[in-house]
Each structure stands twice: as C-alpha cells, then as structure tokens.
Amino acid sequence: MADEQKDSQQPEKPAEPPKPAAPAGEARAAVPKPPPPPPGAKPAAPAAPPKPKGPQQEPWSSPLVDAIKEKFGGEFIKSYSFLGQNQIVVKKDRIAEIMTFLRDNDIVPLNYLVDETAVHWPKTEEFEIVYILYSHSKNERIRVKARIKEWEPIESVSGIWTTADWLEREVFDMFGVQYLNHPNLKRILLPEDWVGYPLRKDYNIRLQDVEWVRKHLGIDSGQKYYVGEARHEEDAGYVTPSD
C-alpha cells in the first residue's frame, strides 16, 4: 500500500516494474543471462548475449576526467557518456573540494552551475544528487552525480557558486536532503511549517499536510490521505487524526 504511487485508474501500466536498484542510465539489466546447461551435458561455450537495444552508456575520457582521477582517485567512480551527454559519478565525500576543482581548473573551467537537483531511488534508499555544470569559455556541459543515503547529509556547494543557494533549498524542501554549511537552509516553496517532503517516492501525489491546512486555512480539505501514511482511496471513509 505504501508503494502505491501510481493512480489505480491509470489505463497503462508499464509492462514490467522499473528495474530495481539501477542508477540512472544503466541499461545493462536488459541483457538476458545465457540459459543454464542441462545436468550431465558438457558445458558448451555460452552464446554471446544479444546486443541490448537502445542507447547505451559509452565510456568517456577526457583531460578533465584524467585530472579528476589523479586528484580525487578515491572518490571517482566512473565517467560515461549517454546520448552524447557527458557525466561523472563520484562519491559524496569531499564533494565541495571536487566542485571547487571543477570550477577553478584550467582544462575546462566550469564556472556556471546550471542546476542542482536530486532523484530518489527508494529501493536502495538513496538520493542521487545531480549537478549540471557548464563552462562558458569551453562551451561544455557536464553532469556530476553523487549518491547519498537518505539519512546522510552532504556538503553544500553554495560557497562555490551562489546559484546553489536556492537550488539546494529547493532540494531540501522537496526531498529532505540536509546540506552542511548552507547559509540559510529552510523551506522555499512550501510553507515553513509543512511536514513532509513531497518529491520523495513514498509521498503520494494526493498527500497533503492536513494538519497544516486545518490550522492555517481553517478548513477540512477532505483529502483522504495524510502525512506519513498513504491509505488506499477505496478504503472506508475519511479518517481523522483523532480516530
């Protein structure tokens, strides 16, 4: 019931559930394993798996990637290119140093933070923080991704690019990611005393902080769900918190 994120009246359900625990971009789960050999038969050379359809991640190397590997070898996980867009995956430790390096290096000075956002992967209880960076002088756009567990804080980059100030506030507002060293980490789009983090996958789209509505607007909004618990719409009547 808590996983019922999709509306039950939806006409189209995906053919199979979304691939579990796959970081964004990994299409390798589509490759079937070769069938197990029947007992007693001699092991034949396994057939080569068929080429997976659709765009794949291509490995990407460049002088910038080499410089990062050299300086931050322990944090660097991989770099790849998907549909022509270059991405680097790093660990979240020392993210502020990595970002400072990316901004100040001479190879591709990424002086403009285009966007900072998060993606929730509930199966692994992780948030993937995505930074999209751009260099005006080299006209190059790079994406940097770092994964954190839901309860872990991450360093803020608002000291490096001031753009991150509000962008991180929004990530905090919508996902609940704690940023360390942020000058003003409070809710930006939702009211200050709202409870709940809407863009998480366990927050139903119809969910609403009914207590907030009751307190500030003085009405009973009639939403059947409330914070923390998603009840199925078909269940018996409206339940108030005092029940």
Binding site: E12, P18, L113, R141, T163, I205
Partner: protein, 355 residues
C-alpha cells in the same frame, strides 16, 4: 512588500530591511503559486505532461512546450521533421516577442509610463490572434507534440506573419521614441540594479539579464536546437549591467526575433509534421538534460526515465527562479521605488518560479 502588490508580477513577497528609504537587505519569499508540477510530471505520461508545463511560464507558454518536446525527442533519439522544426522556430520567436512586449509594458507601467503598456498590448494582440488561429488558444497554447507539431499552418498564416513582421520594427522604434531618450526613464533606470558579469555568472543569471551585463551568451548560438543554425541573427549585448542596458537588450532582441521570423516564414519546407514514432512513448532507461533559450533565460529540462510511460523524475530548471536570487545583490543600496524597477527588469514570472 507583500504577495498582493501590483508591481511584483505575481505573488511574490519581498521582505525589505530599510534604513529610511534605502534598502539594506532584501529577502524573497516565494512559493505562493507552488502547484507541484514536478510531482505531476511523475504521475502523468509524457504526452499528458506537456499541457501542464504551459501553465508554468504562462506568459511565454510556447517555449516550455518546445523545451520539453525536444528533451523527450532527444531521449527517444527522434528528430522532428524539418517542416515542424521551422514552424516551431516561427512560433517560438513570436512567443519571444510576446513575452518581451508584456515585459516592456508592465515594466514601463510600474515606473509610470502608462502609454507604453497600451502600445505593447496592441502588438501583442496581433500575435495572440495568430496563435489563436493556429492552435485555438492565446495564452496556454499546447502547440507542439513530442515528435513534431500537431496542427498544420492555416491558409493565410504566412501572409499574416509577413504583415506583422513588416510593421513590427517600426513599432519598436515607436517604443524607443517614448522611452530611450526620456529623461525620466533614464533617471529611473540608469545605474539601477547593476550586476557585474562575474557576479551574474556566479549567481546563475541567464537570458537578457546576463547579456545586459556584457556576457555574450545565447543558447540559440552556443548549443543550437531546432533549426536556429539556419537563420542569421545577432545577439545584443549590454555594457554596464544596469536596468537601462537590460531594457536595450530586450528591445533589440525583439527586432532580432522579427528578423528570424521574416527569414523563417519564407522558407518553410514541405513535408510531414510528425516524426514516425510509436504512439505510446516509452523512452529508454536513462536521463537527459536539454535547455533552450526562453525569453526569460535558460529553461532546462532534466528528465530521468525508467523505461515506463511516466517520467521517473521530471525536473524543470526555471530561469526566473535562478534569476530572482540576484535580486538580493542588485537591490542593496537602492530605494524602495527602485526595487520595483529591479523586479521588473529581471523579468520574472511566478508560475515558473514556484511551479
């Protein structure tokens, strides 16, 4: 400066710390128009999400549509046919003129020049008539589809656009005679809201506000999309980064948009309007970022797909949200009346900021 204010261009609250009439600090409180568009992006299918996006930047709805459709087309590795792309360019540039006209009208009326407002809306009416003839809606148009455009251009479209584009530069000159050399206008906008190029890039400012500070950067030239690389146009750049420069940049951008349209309307190629693709849109697993130059700045879409018919994460990078951060830096030291000018010059639309 509360959410209900005639000059805050929507429901924006600015908390000002004042010393007499001078502003020491400003803090923006936003979120009054938050509708959860990104959450809807995860619940609706890709095709269903497109009209929802129109409501974001409701002044220039065509750009939102274009950005998203192009992002999904990139993810699907599909290109819209040339005819559709040409129509898209024409509509997007008309949309840019619309947005800048509204900006000029409201900016001028905030500072007291009432006539400009009426003149701008007269021109805007012409464009909205074209939009209405094309797709049936004036404001929240749902013009493009993933893979191309839905509607064929109507008979008389090219003539109507040609007539508009022929007259338009003269109209822009008319606005210039009202404002550019006007002592009051110069007095109220020169030196107000200055931001240096370095600060602007650091704060993520994009669009005409960035070009007013001297940075010559336009996504239509840097990372061309649709068929912009086929047309000749210039990018106007300011020098000092104050309100007056941003005004001149936007005025010139309107002329350049008219130039693009006049080139595009002559060479609309023949062909189909939609690319060949399946009706049910199921992009491959992966993520994509695509941005376009909307009239307000860099409008970006970061879409994460998990292979199903709904997006896993549909993130919109709204230009006005990031631009509004610069308000704090621009406003320090000015007077309360200048705050109105600065909010106007940033060209924000709250629908986009709050989503």
């Amino acid at each position: 400066m509360g959410p209900q204010h005639p000059s805050t261009h929507g429901v924006l609250q600015v908390k000002l710390k004042l010393d007499g009439e001078r502003v020491i600090d400003a803090e923006c409180v936003i979120g009054y128009l938050h509708r959860g568009v990104e959450k809807l992006g995860e619940a609706q299918t890709y095709g269903q999400f497109v009209p929802t996006l129109d409501r974001m930047d409701y002044i220039a709805a065509v750009s939102n549509c274009l950005g998203y459709c192009e992002a999904i087309e990139k993810l699907l590795s599909v290109t819209a046919p040339p005819r559709a792309q040409c129509i898209r360019v024409i509509m997007t540039e008309l949309n840019r003129i619309t947005s800048h006209l509204l900006w000029l009208g409201t900016h001028a009326i905030d500072l007291g020049a009432v006539t400009v407002f009426l003149y701008c809306f007269r021109e805007r009416e012409e464009i909205l008539k074209i939009f209405e003839n094309y797709c049936g809606a004036r404001l929240t148009t749902h013009m493009f589809r993933i893979g191309g455009t839905q509607y064929e251009i109507y008979d008389g479209f090219q003539d109507q656009v040609r007539v508009f584009v022929k007259d338009f530069p003269k109209k822009v000159d008319e606005y210039e005679t009202l404002l550019t050399e006007n002592r009051i206008w110069i007095g109220r906008t020169r030196g107000v809201g200055v931001i240096s190029a370095k600060d602007a890039i650091d704060m993520g400012l994009t669009g005409p506000s960035l070009r007013g500070s001297g940075v010559e950067w336009d996504i239509r030239k840097a990372k061309p999309y649709a068929v912009y690389s086929d047309f000749e146009f210039d990018i106007p750049v300011g020098e000092q980064g104050d309100t007056y420069d941003r005004y001149m940049v936007r005025l010139e951008e309107m002329r350049q948009s008219a130039r693009i349209i006049s080139q595009a309307v002559e060479k609309i190629p023949d062909g189909p309007l939609m690319a060949k693709m399946s009706k049910i849109i199921k992009p491959p697993i992966g993520d994509i970022y695509h941005s376009i130059e909307s009239p307000k700045g860099e409008l970006g879409y970061y879409i994460v797909s998990d292979g199903s018919t709904q997006a896993y994460r549909a993130r919109v990078r709204p230009p006005s949200f990031v631009n509004l951060q610069s308000l704090k830096r621009m406003v320090a030291g000015h007077m309360v009346a200048d705050v109105v000018a600065i909010i106007g010059t940033l060209d924000i639309v709250l629908g986009e900021i709050d989503r």
